[in-house]
């Protein structure tokens, strides 16, 4: 039986990777992918904790399913935004898109 701490460490590592990617990647698509990583890190900790804690009514698992569903919707919307960005700026590099500054 793999102890809970291992799941959580993996989840934390995954979240940190996602966070790092989201903060450092220039490509908007890559940022989206990094965000997915962070979501999945959260899913992992949900499921792990649900399994670990006694007498739960599958709330953790259900949450994970919700997150996946919402992540799909989020990806659709985000990709539409990225597409819109590309149409207007001919690029998807977020460091080149800074019109909304002071």
């Amino acid at each position: 039986m793999i102890p809970l701490s291992h799941y959580l460490i993996v989840a934390a590592a995954l979240f940190s990777l996602g966070m790092f990617g989201a903060l450092t990647r220039r490509n908007a698509i890559a940022i989206l992918m990094s965000v997915e990583l962070m979501l999945n890190a959260a899913n992992l900790s949900f499921v792990a904790l649900a399994r670990h804690l006694p007498q739960t009514l599958l709330q953790g698992q259900v949450f994970a399913v919700f997150v996946i569903a919402i992540a799909a919707a989020e990806a659709a919307v985000a990709l539409a935004i990225v597409l819109g960005l590309f149409r207007n700026f001919r690029t998807v590099n977020v460091d080149e898109i800074n019109l909304m500054k002071w």
Binding site: I31, V94, I97, L99, M100, W102
Partner: protein, 663 residues
Amino acid sequence: MLKLVWLVPALPLLGVAVNGIFGRVTRERAHWLGVGTTGLSFLIALAIFCQAAGGARLDWDVYTWMSAGDFRATVGFLVDPLSAVMMLVVTFVGLLIHVYSVGYMHGDPGYARFFTYLNLFMSSMLVLVLANNYLLMFLGWEGVGLCSYLLIGFWYQKPAAADAGKKAFVVNRIGDAGFLLGLFLIWRTFESLHYGQVFSQVETYRLVLERPSVLGLSLVTWIALLLFVGATGKSAQLPLYVWLPDAMEGPTPVSALIHAATMVTAGVYMVARSAAFFNLAPVAMGTVAWVGAITAVFAATIALVQTDIKRVVAYSTISQLGYMFLGCGVGAYASAVFHLATHAFFKALLFLGSGSVIHALSGEQDIRKMGQLKARLPITSRTFYWASLANAGIIPLAGFWSKDEILAGAFAGHHYVLWALGSAGAFMTAFYMFRLYYTVFEGKDNVDPHTAHHIHESPPAMAYPLMALGAGTLLVGALFGFPPDHGLYHRFVGPVFAAAGTEPHAIGLGTTVGLAAVATLIAALGIWGLARSWYKTGDSPAPARAAERFRGLYRLLLNKYWVDEYYNALFIDFGKRLCHRLWGVDARGVDGAVNGTGWLTVALSALSARVDFHGVDGLVNAIADLIQDGSQAVKRIQTGLIQNYLLAMAMGVFVIVSLYVFF
């Protein structure tokens, strides 16, 4: 019929209304109405005069003019012998002068205006003589003063004429103030200004009237003296005569009508009308007599040397008015008014004759540039000759009868000094009239060659009035004045003054004839004894020699005793200086206060603006600036780079979680 008297002053007023309002339309036809209304007035006046002569009298209050408390003034007319005579003289002479004006003023741009003023004058003068109370008389009195001003300044483009008009008006105001004070005093004493009510109460109030009041003079003396002050202004007596010679700047018909025949006699009429007061006031009587006599001599001396044809006649007018006041002053009111009437004829004639000469010589008024006009102006010279004889007092012309009566009145009243003064004046009158006549119509021909060939006798409109007045001058005196003091005129007018308490002077037939002989002798001496030999040929050296010998006196007379200069120095300069001083007070004090207030307001406003600008606006701006500067400082965090925001968010979460975990 007698009540038609209101039409006499009203008809000329109709002319005023039409010519005054529609003068631009009537233009050269202005005289139709101007002369027409005056003519009708004259006819009505003649009819009323005839009735009055038959014994009819009228004292008629037409309506109440104004009332305030106890005071009630009416518009009303009085027809008695005195006003009837005045009315007839005014309308008759006025009518002739209107006709004369048609010729004299022909082609003048102000033709309609001239007739408007002339009619207004007629109306005012008739109100003056026909009024049955003092207030209405005062209305007419002021009206004629106004017309006099308007007509003297008729050629207002000429500065001398405009100034003369102003002078006449101002000097008259001084007299009018006295008249008005007199009226106040009458009202206070009798509570009425109506002649009938006032004069009928004089006996009742006699004790009050004769009681000494201010300065030891009785009340009635004050009334009489104040009225006389008014008379000296209007009738050009010392010391207020100065306006009359200057009034000659007006058109000549005006000089004849207003400044010789009618208006200037208003003072005499007023004194005669107020005889009831004067008879109770010996001091006032003496003042009137002496002022009259001195004026008569004073003006006559000036007339001796003047060289302007109209001014000689003007000074003669002042002198003759002096005789009228002398007559009033010695109680010979009827004779004074008779002299007024005869004087109206011959003095109007002299002025119209002068006008005719001036007209013929294209405006020349200097008698040194005239001469030998007798043949060229036959009608003018003949009528002028008669008028000069009448003015000099040669029997049987108009002036003789009346002037002789005045002097006889003075003699009979034992005023021998006054009589002597009057006789001396009569000698000078005879002399200066014939100096004028001989110099202008005979003597040497000094006419400017340029004007000489323009000389022509005046047109009929001017010649006929001359002849009519000439006939009057010849006949009126003898017709109504013979025998002296008992003629038609005296039987008609005498009772008016007898009713006012005038004591008749008993004078023997021998004295009458003697005085008449002396007067005629004096006049004849002046004419044929002196003037003829000095001026008839025009080359006698005697006048120049006399002028040389009495050079100081000559210059004194030529400069009219420097009276105008004295008045200038005494009153006008004083007034000017006073005004200047007051102006200084006004400019510095009153204006200073106003300007100071203004300045203070401006200064306070500036201060307030500063407070507003720096304080209030400053506060608002400071807040705005603060916000702006603060925004400047922090706006840089708004980089527009999405990852910066993400970082901030992550760090925020980190901080919050850290806080949650560790505390």
